[in-house]
Amino acid sequence: MANLVEPILRTRFTDMTAPVFSFQMHPCKEFEMRYVSCMEAYGKSLGKEKCMDLKLDLNECVFSDKQLFRVLAMQKERERQYKAGERTSENYYGPIPKPDSY
């Protein structure tokens, strides 16, 4: 996450380590950039509420929580249907992706 808090003791060494903890070399760099510019516009105290969605989106991009929960829920539902007898072992699985298509 972008380090938005300035250190207490600012030296050139802390300036050197400032860009290390960012997502600018990551697929989520666009999300971080939008979140940081929002925080810059609203400030530290107002930005907490105003930029919450952008922050959650960055969080989702980095950790992909919602997508993982969705996958777990769908796999659980599939298992439940199999145990309840709505599914047989022949049509247990859905579409299987072609190799090397991701």
Partner: protein, 151 residues
């Protein structure tokens, strides 16, 4: 009684002399000639390699690279097509699978979209485990470990 006992004595004329002089191996070449031979041999083989063998290697390499580059657009297009087709199939399968689950919306979690601030028209790629969501686990595992497992 003729009991003549023969004592162990040196042979007549005495023992052979012990050789203690150094016996060095025969040398065929000395430093200068050896170095000259090394340089000539290496020069000849290098000349032969770069004038008769390496052009063939280069030719085959260029041929291979060229055929790869020629088929690359086709392969990439096929990959993209398969990817998008499978994304569509995932959506249909989710709709069918979660039809009986109350409160489930396709493509959402707890009624919230995956990315709140992105436009509806923007397509965000699914993660690998969602892409292999309805497939057997070993398919996902093999894909995830593709770089580690080099068969």
């Amino acid at each position: 009684m003729d009991a003549t006992i023969k004592q162990d004595l040196p042979p007549p004329g005495g023992y052979e002399k012990i050789q203690y002089a150094r016996n060095p191996a025969k040398t065929f070449f000395r430093g200068g000639r050896l170095l000259a031979g090394f340089i000539i041999l290496n020069g000849c083989t290098t000349y032969y390699y770069f004038n008769h063998i390496y052009p063939g290697i280069l030719h085959r390499r260029v041929e291979k690279k060229g055929s790869h580059l020629a088929t690359l657009p086709l392969l990439l297009a096929e990959q993209d097509r398969a990817f998008l087709k499978h994304c569509r199939a995932l959506r249909d399968e989710e709709e069918k699978l979660m039809a009986n689950v109350p409160g489930w919306e396709v493509g959402k979690w707890n009624g919230q979209p995956i990315y709140k601030t992105l436009d509806k028209d923007v397509f965000s790629n699914p993660i690998l485990s969602e892409y292999y969501c309805h497939a057997p686990y070993m398919d996902f595992y093999k894909k995830a470990m593709e770089e580690a497992i080099q068969v």
